[in-house]
């Protein structure tokens, strides 16, 4: 897999560290235990397109929001996680 980093350009995926589902951007407000359980542990785990967080640890260190097909490994869209989070606010 090759990921196009918005800052650095196209790089081998070994330069990136995988964190997990992009739902981790949607941290729940307040102290609702059920919401936190869902946030930390529950995953949709689709077999098609999955929105994920990757960090370009061997490049610019930016956190990236990557939409990837988890069956074909095709990278569909890469954005800065910060931009995705701000757009959602």
């Amino acid at each position: 897999m090759r990921i196009i980093c918005p800052n650095c350009g196209e790089r081998d995926h070994r330069e990136f560290e995988y964190l997990g589902s992009a739902k981790l951007l949607e941290r729940p407000e307040g102290g609702d235990a059920a919401a936190y359980h869902d946030y930390v542990f529950q995953r949709r785990n689709p077999s098609g397109e999955n929105a994920e967080l990757w960090q370009h640890v061997m490049g610019c260190s930016a956190w990236l929001h990557v939409v990837r097909n988890v069956t074909t490994h095709e990278i569909i869209e890469v954005k800065l996680a910060r931009d995705v989070k701000e757009a959602a606010l």
């Binding site: 930390v40 995953r43 785990n45 077999s47 990837r68 069956t71 490994h73």
Partner: protein
């Protein structure tokens, strides 16, 4: 037919014409008492124990492809009980006991070979943690032998002991661990279940659930609707997707794990060895191939093939541990889809849907669990109670905080 030396002799003398197909190929009935989704190791052993131990004969196992065609036929065949935490300890201990009697139980040769499992330590911290693990295993009643570097050298002299980065400090050997013939395990359980009247239905994909008033009524399949008062899911790799059809969200991600085998060579490795510094393990099959594997690729995947970086990583680990491996040529590599749970431990539990049961989240440890998981899942489905040796694999443990994080890596499935 009861298999025995006499049968082999008789059939050998009569042109081997007396052997019968090992299981029937029945049409699905309109309804069953219990439907198991998934005809792999776990599904088949569940059906076997339901029929054998609990006398429930009106059971169907529904398999999308062919019996034993999934992960049970594609793994590195290791059997061991050297976990660290309560929950896992007693479960795998029980599983190993079932393994030890499995051939007699099934009247089928699963070729269990208790050749030992050796875990290596490369520094003092690792050695201490192996000592702790060994004590936990001994306290559970399992075998553990802490070995100094000299002991390890005498046991496996061909390892690279003086590697500059990863010198071998010592090891922990479980002499009761080993390997088994993976396909035979599936076939043995399938035969045992079929003999007791279980319908093993292949090429039958479950496409939906019929749920009324929060209670399971049956399953929609590619071969029509099949009614059932109880349904068990045992579909490693696809657990999230099958559960989603019942409206459930689970603490599971699917990841791809690769394994490798070299061309057959003369006997060289008479045990199972895990390298402590990279997730690498190796054994030799009875056919002679060196069977080895490493980490999962590290990101969600439903692709039953891996990417090359892990191939390279595993090959590097092999060369660091056992430089002679470089002389042999790799024959095949393949990838299988793992249910990676959020704490690295499995789930055997009821679900919020009445009559729908879940056995999943086995990460890459499902093979060694086949006997005990089937027995525990059967116990749960038949009695509604947790089996003594599987009381902690609860679906709600992520809410209650009683997670079983053997690796200590937190809610990061790609790190387990």
């Amino acid at each position: 037919m009861h298999y025995s030396a006499l049968q082999i002799l008789k059939n050998g003398l009569s042109g081997n014409k007396g052997w019968k197909p090992v299981w029937r190929n029945p049409e699905p009935k309109k309804s069953y008492d219990i439907v198991i989704i998934g005809g792999g190791g776990h599904g088949l052993s569940t059906a076997y124990y339901l029929a054998k131990t609990y006398g429930i004969r009106n059971i169907a196992v529904l398999e999308k492809g062919y019996l034993g065609g999934g992960n049970v036929g594609r793994n590195t065949t290791i059997v061991r009980a050297n976990y660290l935490l309560d929950g896992n300890l007693e479960f795998y201990s029980h599983s190993l006991k079932l393994w030890e009697n499995l051939e007699q139980e099934l009247n089928y040769n699963v070729m269990l070979s208790q050749r030992g499992c050796l875990m290596l330590a490369h520094n003092d911290g690792q050695f201490d943690s192996l000592a702790r693990r060994g004590n936990a295993n001994l306290a559970t009643g399992d075998d553990a032998l802490l070995m100094s570097a000299d002991d390890v050298r005498a046991f496996t002299p061909y390892l690279n002991f003086d590697d500059a980065r990863f010198p071998i400090r010592g090891g922990l050997l479980q002499r009761t661990g080993g390997t088994a013939r993976h396909d035979a395990v599936a076939w043995g359980y399938a035969r045992g279940a079929d003999m007791r009247g279980v319908d093993l239905i292949q090429n039958c994909e479950v496409t939906g659930f019929r749920i009324e008033g929060g209670k399971i009524k049956g399953v929609e399949t590619s071969r029509g609707y099949i009614g059932a008062s109880k349904v068990g899911m045992s579909v490693a790799g696809r657990t999230s997707q099958v559960a989603e059809m019942a409206g459930l969200s689970l603490p599971i991600e699917s990841h791809v794990l690769q394994a490798f085998v070299t061309e057959a060579v003369k006997p060289v490795i008479d045990t199972v060895i895990s390298f402590g510094m990279g997730h690498f393990y190796i054994s030799q099959s009875d056919k002679g191939g060196l069977v080895f594997g490493g980490d999962i690729d590290g990101y969600n995947s439903y692709s039953q093939r891996g990417n090359l970086p892990i191939v390279e990583h595993v090959a590097e680990a092999a060369m660091a541990l056992m430089p002679m491996v470089g002389k042999s040529r790799m024959l095949r590599s393949w990838g299988g889809i793992m249910d990676m749970s959020m704490d690295g431990s499995p789930i055997i539990d009821k679900t919020p849907v009445e009559g729908l049961f879940l056995n999943g989240g086995w990460c890459y440890g499902g093979f060694k669990a086949v006997p005990a998981a089937g027995a525990a899942f059967a116990h749960l489905m038949a009695t509604g109670e947790k089996a003594d040796w599987a009381t902690k694999f609860n679906l709600n443990r992520f809410e209650t905080g009683y997670v079983i994080d053997d690796e200590g890596t937190g809610a990061r499935p790609n790190l387990h």
